[in-house]
């Protein structure tokens, strides 16, 4: 793409990635922190603005593309992964990010999410999970806990919630991670890993909706609770947590449980292997997300190498050209039985 247009701002400054649009989330919303992390990350990645595209659906989170000074599209409720898939196939040269909330991605758009993950399209999906519908003013969402009292569930929700990362593992996602909106460094590191990954990446972000579901994740992500409630996953290291690293995860046939190191011994504690080809390990970790009740894994649950979709598409195009020769319209029209009339 040639252009006479030149970039004026300093690419090492956050402002380079800030659009002229006024940010309109509620004051105190967790989305601000996520936006900042993404803008700072982009100053570090050294990528060009014109090569990044943010695609979103509908919801509070979905306003995100308007605030990034890059290409973007604010589309339809639930459809962002499908639209991003088309763009990623048409333009494998671009960095395509998908932004959406729990209602957007897991309810109305659940089908597109799982199919984008299983195809391993090269898109980076950020799932802003605040366990509530914010934009429509506070109905329970597919990640809300059973018993959640909202305007649409005055007697409490009776729907069992999705655990998004377990769902992703079930769909065969090649990259699965979790972070939260209070830790910019952790977000940046996690987004960076997603960006480096070749294929579809799903990053769940615990995001506070301070208007309709304030403090949903406080029991886990508030500074005072982090030691006991956040399980940091480090590839190749035993999965330990607690102020004294006194607890850990033990894997056993079909699941993961929390144990006291003193009871089971360090050798019984699972070593985190994000490259494990068996998705059931990531599934077991993904299922360890009982709202506010128990310690929850953070970081990269899974990062395996799989055939990336657009590359497979391009390979077929190359193969077709090799086998059939470059397409020729005249030859195509004459490819069936033809006859001449004088």
């Amino acid at each position: 793409m040639s252009s006479t247009v030149e970039i004026q701002t300093d690419p090492t400054k956050r402002g380079h990635w800030t659009s002229s649009q006024e940010v309109r989330w509620c004051p105190g919303c967790g989305d601000y922190g996520i936006l900042a992390a993404m803008q700072f990350l982009h100053t570090e990645l050294g990528v060009k603005r014109e090569n990044s595209v943010f695609i979103s659906g509908i919801g509070c989170a979905a306003r995100f593309p308007y605030y990034m000074n890059s290409y973007g599209m604010h589309t339809i409720h639930g459809r962002a992964p499908a639209i991003a898939t088309g763009l990623a196939l048409a333009r494998p040269d671009l960095d395509v990010w998908v932004i959406g909330g729990d209602g957007d991605m897991l309810s109305i758009g659940g089908n597109h999410l799982i199919h984008a993950l299983r195809r391993n399209v090269n898109i980076k999906i950020l799932l802003f999970n605040n366990q509530i519908y914010g934009l429509t003013k506070g109905q329970f969402s597919p990640t809300s806990e059973v018993g959640k009292v909202t305007k649409s569930t005055p007697m409490g929700s009776i729907d069992a919630p999705f655990k998004p990362l377990g769902l992703a593992a079930g769909a065969g996602a090649s990259f699965i991670a979790r972070t939260h909106d209070l830790d910019r460094k952790h977000m940046m590191a996690t987004f960076k890993r997603a960006h480096e990954h070749k294929g579809a990446a799903l990053v769940e972000i615990y995001q506070n909706c301070n208007v309709f579901n304030d403090g949903a994740f406080d029991a886990i992500v508030k500074r005072a609770n982090r030691d006991e409630m956040m399980i940091d996953l480090v590839h190749g290291e035993p999965i330990l947590f607690g102020a004294e690293k006194q607890r850990g995860i033990v894997m056993h046939g079909g699941g993961a449980t929390i144990a006291e190191v003193a009871d089971v011994g360090l050798d019984a504690i699972a070593i985190h292997d994000e490259k494990n080809p068996d998705p059931s390990v990531a599934f077991a970790l993904g299922q360890m997300a009982d709202n506010r009740q128990s310690p929850t894994p953070f970081g990269v649950l899974r990062a395996v190498e799989q055939q990336e979709y657009s590359e497979a598409v391009e390979n077929q195009l190359k193969l077709a050209k090799k086998n059939q020769g470059e397409g020729n319209l005249h030859d195509l029209l004459h490819s069936g039985a033809t006859w001449d009339v004088e």
Partner: protein, 626 residues
């Protein structure tokens, strides 16, 4: 058309309509296809009407499981697959039972009597064998034991009896080929290519084909042989083409003419899937075909690809368009080019999935939320699908808008000879992408305004991701005129709504005028759109022969209408609009032009016969219907 039954000289026919019918497992579509191909190669004008059941394997031997293929061959130009077949080939009692009412009185009926046993007769509800109750007295009936003759002919070939029996359709084809002096060579070539990996199948099929041919030649049952000589076609190179193949090739051509890669997002649906299949075969043109998880994703992926600078398509049928509605509205709002192809079928809901209907016109023009005007074009014949796929693409690209192309099940599966266009004579439909600033922002800095329109076309600039400096966000929210920033002000929404409408309306000056077929000074006009063109043309021919000539127009562009349409309509005292729906175009014409257009409708999953159109006109004249 002269009546073939009236002709004394039986050796030369000016035309014949043959209907092959059998169980859906009997290979009737293939038989019809092969006879079509041989006839087209012999230079006949050819039109076909394949009809098959909605179920892949409906219960064997039942009326529900009957698959039929009608073919009209002629030594002159023809417009329909034939009102009343002259010949029926019925492979079993169910085929006879379901088809006989359509066959011309005095016509020929060829029965595979091996299938006329007690069980098969009962299965389709015959209490008495129709060969014995006088119900076939009006027809010339030939009873041929096709299954056993086929098994006999293939006795020396190492095939299972079941496979041998399955070749009986080729026996039927051989027999009909003899009757109408069609060469077997094209079929033999085809069989050899198609089953190259199964020599025993090739041998069995060819043996059956030749046995059928020999049967005609040697038995006295078939005293007459007929010939339909070549039709006087315009000079050129011809091929036989179905509407779906022509649509797919038109899409490929559009990509070449636009110099853009093609992206097709699609989800399997009858009767549109063959377009996806055809495009998937031609990835050497750089075509990306994406079979999505659902109809919505198929349209969504096309929108994403369009944003990335591809010529984007989504192909479907009515139910799929219903699902895609919200995505089409996004493309409308974001003003991104894409082409939605609706191969219409009988509705509502699952309706008649394998039958034709033209009942999605109002859905195409009006069937979205909000004010969402978009161009709608319609193909009128199988080969015209090629031209209309290019035309839909041209409009989409030039005006940055989703465009709906309507075809239907009849066009999709029907075939006709096509005088192949010279590739170099096809229009250039390429557009330019914007690569530079086009405005100044409030602070006087150079800026890119994605909604700063071309004053003439009202099209917005199209800048692709990857273009430095032109970073911008599109979306479904209302946007400010020019800058494209989110903007909810009342004045702006009114302005943008009117601009989107004006853009589509303005396309009227960029499409051909509607052409009057006839003398232009008669007082009656027939108005058609879509696949009714052939039936209407034939009705016009018959009316002229009967001394009540009428003029005719056919709309290829329905939104916006051809710019001279109102003026043309107002010249006529009587305007009739035959449609395969309950009267959709007629509503639009009446409301748009305040003309007293009368509706002629049919909802049977089948094309009009010319006589049905004529009797529809008479009903209005007689005051039977308003």
């Amino acid at each position: 058309m002269t009546n073939t039954a009236d002709r004394v000289d039986k050796t030369n026919l000016d035309q014949v309509v043959i209907r092959f019918a059998g169980d859906s497992g009997d290979g009737m579509q293939l038989t019809g296809d092969r006879f079509t191909s041989a006839s087209a190669l012999a230079g006949n004008d050819v039109l076909t009407l394949p009809e098959y059941p909605a179920e892949i394997r409906a219960p064997q031997g039942t009326v529900a499981g009957v698959s039929a293929f009608q073919i009209h061959i002629s030594d002159h130009e023809i417009y329909t697959p034939g009102d009343e077949p002259d010949v029926l080939v019925a492979m079993n009692p169910a085929a006879l039972k379901s088809q006989i009412a359509r066959i011309k009185s005095g016509g020929t009926v060829i029965l595979n009597i091996d299938a006329f046993d007690e069980r098969n007769l009962t299965k389709c509800g015959y209490e008495v064998d129709p060969r014995e109750d006088g119900s076939l007295d009006d027809y010339i009936v030939h009873e041929v034991p096709m299954t056993s003759l086929t098994v006999g002919a293939t006795a020396d070939i190492d095939v299972k009896k079941r496979d041998a029996e399955r070749s009986k359709n080729l026996f039927a084809l051989g027999l009909v080929s003899w009757m109408y002096t069609r060469s077997l060579e094209p079929t033999i070539d085809w069989v050899e290519k198609k089953f190259a990996k199964k020599p025993e199948v090739v041998a069995a099929n060819i043996a059956a084909l030749k046995a059928g041919h020999a049967y005609g030649e040697t038995t006295e049952m078939f005293a007459d042989q007929f010939e339909v000589v070549a039709a006087p076609h315009a000079p050129g190179t011809y091929t036989n083409i179905t509407g779906n193949a022509a649509t797919a090739w038109g899409m490929i051509a559009a990509g070449e003419l636009a110099k853009l890669p093609i992206f097709l997002g699609s989800y399997p649906i009858t009767p549109a899937s063959d377009i996806l299949h055809e495009l998937a075969k031609h990835k050497n043109f750089g075509i990306r075909t994406f079979q999505a998880e659902d109809e919505i994703a198929a349209a969504g992926a096309a929108v994403g690809a369009a944003f990335g600078g591809h010529l984007a398509f989504t192909t479907t049928s009515g139910p799929g368009v219903a699902l895609k509605g919200e995505t089409i509205s996004l493309a409308n709002m974001a003003e991104l080019p894409m082409v939605i192809i609706n191969v219409q079928r009988g509705g509502p809901s699952t309706g008649l999935p394998t039958k034709t209907e033209a009942s999605d016109l109002l859905q195409a023009v009006y069937g979205r939320h909000g004010e969402s005007p978009l161009p709608v074009v319609a193909a009128y014949s199988p080969s015209n699908c090629f031209d209309m796929a290019i035309e839909a693409s041209r409009i989409a690209l030039k005006y940055r808008t989703p465009v709906i192309l309507l075809t239907d099940g009849y066009l999709a599966n029907g075939a006709e000879p096509w005088n192949l266009p010279d590739v170099d004579g096809l229009p250039d439909i390429s557009v330019e992408f914007t690569t530079e600033f086009n405005a100044e922002d409030a602070n006087g800095n150079p800026a890119f305004y994605p909604f700063l329109r071309d004053p003439e076309t009202l099209a917005r600039p199209w800048a692709l991701p990857g273009t430095p400096g032109l970073e911008h966000r599109l979306g479904g929210l209302e946007k400010a005129d020019g800058s494209g920033n989110v903007e909810y002000s009342p004045e702006n929404h009114e302005l943008m709504s009117r601009l989107r409408k004006a853009k589509v309306d303005g396309i009227a000056s960029d499409i051909p005028l509607v052409e009057v077929h006839g003398t232009g000074d008669r007082d009656t006009l027939l108005v058609g759109w879509g696949s009714t063109a052939g039936s209407i043309t034939y009705a016009q021919t018959l009316l002229e022969q009967e001394g009540t000539p009428v003029d005719r127009i056919h709309l290829t562009h329905i939104s916006p209408f051809h710019s001279n349409l109102g003026e043309v309509l107002k010249r006529y005292k009587h305007v009739y609009v035959p449609e395969l729906n309950m009267g959709q175009l007629v509503k639009m014409l009446r409301s748009e032009f305040l003309v007293d257009a009368k509706s002629i409708t049919k909802m049977k999953g089948l094309p009009f016969t010319a006589r049905e159109i004529m009797s529809g006109m008479n009903q209005h004249i007689d005051g039977v219907v308003a």
